[in-house]
């Protein structure tokens, strides 16, 4: 890891109309990292990255991108930072090709837009006007525009919203390739699968504060019930026996099926319990909790 982080956010605060939307957020993104910002709607994710992009002026705190202030040194920061914004459009009658050429002309050392357009599946849409593009095509064009300036950092806000599952997977691959090229990625998402697949580290933001900051695995392990066991017992099981299981975090019964969450220790104890009572566990499933579970757990605690 390099000495200075590419993005440094320290005690960031931003309020609208007296309501603190971002309330003391701190994190640092290292060079070459894919860093995720995860959180429920209205948690302050977009406001946080807008401060990083220099589109908003923080009320308090410090933001640095490659050591520069995104507000005071806007032009220099914008040269190394590519942004894909939420809810922005282009001129309705601008074609895809014209948009790519225009945005390439705004940067000192732009990427060649042709391979970029090809990579994003826009080659047969080059003469189509923006207003005629589908939601997914618009989204892919904005990803292309975020990359066109050959940035050192890209900030992607709700990257795959509006994409179909196939385009989404292609886009994930693209982001991994971009990172492999040495670009640092800051990714805002509320999509767990995306965060789990792409991110090296994730900051979970809830109500304007960082609720947790860890690797995806770390977040899952940290959540209370990280392993889920479910089965249909061949004979009734006593509630008391179940509740006495070690490291148990929850028990649910539904239509004769029992779902327990806990840790590996809980799994071993359940097997022992069943064996002792000569009970068969039909359709036994043991699964690791997902980031989804961890996320709900973390954002519920903060509530």
């Amino acid at each position: 890891m390099s000495a200075t982080p590419v993005i440094e956010v320290t005690a960031l605060r931003k309020s609208y109309g007296g309501r603190a939307v971002v309330d003391g957020v701190s994190f640092a993104v290292e060079e070459g990292e894919i860093f995720g910002i995860l959180g429920p709607n209205g948690a302050g994710k977009t406001t946080t990255v807008e401060c990083v992009e220099g589109l908003r002026v923080p009320d308090a705190g410090r933001v640095r991108v490659t050591g520069l202030d995104p507000v005071a040194d806007h032009e220099q920061v914008a040269r190394v930072l590519g942004a894909q914004l939420q809810e922005s459009e282009l001129q309705a009658k601008l074609t895809v090709r014209e948009a790519l050429e225009l945005y390439a002309a705004l940067y000192p050392h732009p990427a060649d837009w042709r391979p970029l357009a090809e990579r994003l599946g826009l080659t047969d849409k080059l003469t189509t006007r923006f207003a005629k593009l589908s939601g997914g095509q618009k989204q892919r064009l904005f990803i292309a525009l975020a990359l066109i300036g050959n940035p050192r950092v890209v900030v992607l806000d709700e990257l795959t919203t509006g994409l179909d599952p196939r385009a989404r997977r292609d886009t994930w691959q693209l982001i991994e390739d971009v990172r492999a090229g040495g670009v640092t990625v800051l990714l805002v998402t509320h999509f767990m699968e995306e965060a789990q697949r792409l991110c090296d580290r994730i900051a979970v933001i809830d109500q304007g504060k960082v609720a947790a900051l860890d690797t995806p695995d770390g977040l899952i392990r940290r959540s209370a019930g990280s392993t889920v066991i479910s089965f249909t017992p061949s004979a009734p099981l006593d509630d008391g026996d179940l509740n006495a299981l070690p490291a148990l975090t929850s028990v649910a019964r539904k239509d004769g099926r029992i779902t327990l969450s806990g840790t590996d220790e809980t799994v071993n104890a359940v097997i022992t319990l069943l064996a002792r009572g000569h009970i068969t566990a039909h359709q036994l499933r043991v699964s690791d909790a997902t980031l989804d579970d961890a996320f709900l757990d973390l954002t519920e605690v903060a509530r």
Binding site: E75, A78, R79, L85, Q91, L94, L102, L106
Partner: protein, 244 residues
């Protein structure tokens, strides 16, 4: 001024048939229609020996800039703000003000082209003499365009949505057309009215153009009125304009 942004805006302007018609073609078309009325081609004593068509050339010269700066430009700019186009530009090394200045150059150039077309057609089709004080005429024309753009910028600044821009644009549009002399040419207005209208941007512009057309210097008062409006409106626009 960013040339790539300017080139793009110019290209997009050419894709707006409505704006092209109302700004470039309509004023000259109006002149042609008025010129086809035989009575408008007779010299009239109460116009100082001029023909009605002579008096209407300066009016049609102003018409294109009024339509462009007060109707089209505010619609475009508020649309750009409403749909996050200015915001997207803010995330690049180029400031969104590049879009604003490109728009002004495009509508300014369109207004100038519209004026020159009206003058040319007036000369060729109806034998309206070209302005005798050509430099004064051009100066008055350029100052009028600047004032019109500044007024359009204020409308764009005050309108939060394209709908509001349309409403404010129209509310300002008709009084400005009146002042420019679309219904009664300024030199046919009663004295008091002409004097009041002379302090509005397009009234001053119309008087300045009339004087220059007749071979006089446009008059520092009229030019001064145009400059004062431009400065005042520009200050207002830059104070009130919001990028999002």
């Amino acid at each position: 001024m960013n040339t790539a942004v300017l080139r793009t805006e110019l290209r997009l302007f050419r894709r707006e048939p409505g704006a092209l018609f109302w700004i470039l073609a309509f004023p000259t078309l109006l002149l042609v229609i008025l010129g086809s009325i035989p009575g408008f081609r007779h010299h009239q004593a109460d116009l100082g020996g001029l023909r009605t068509i002579d008096v209407y050339v300066p009016v049609t010269v102003l018409l294109g800039m009024i339509v462009g700066a007060l109707q089209s430009m505010p619609q475009t700019l508020t649309g750009y703000r409403e749909r996050g186009i200015l915001r997207r530009m803010s995330a690049t090394p180029v400031r969104p003000s590049a879009l604003l200045s490109a728009q002004m150059v495009v509508y300014g150039a369109a207004a100038l082209a519209s004026a020159l077309l009206a003058l040319t057609v007036g000369r060729l089709a109806f034998d309206v003499r070209l302005p005798k004080q050509a430099f004064g005429y051009l100066l008055a024309l350029l100052l009028a365009i600047l004032a019109a753009l500044a007024l359009g910028a204020v409308v764009s600044a005050l309108s939060r949505t394209t709908k509001i821009a349309g409403a404010i644009g129209s509310a300002v549009f008709f009084p400005m057309m009146f002042c420019a002399g679309v219904w009664i040419p300024v030199n046919s207005m009663p004295d008091v009215m002409a004097r009041i209208v002379g302090y509005t941007p397009f009234g001053a512009a119309a008087e300045a153009l009339n004087r220059a057309a007749a071979g006089h210097w446009p008059g520092w008062t009229h030019l001064g009125v145009l400059v004062a409006w431009t400065v005042l409106l520009t200050v207002g626009a830059s104070r009130w304009f919001r990028w999002e």
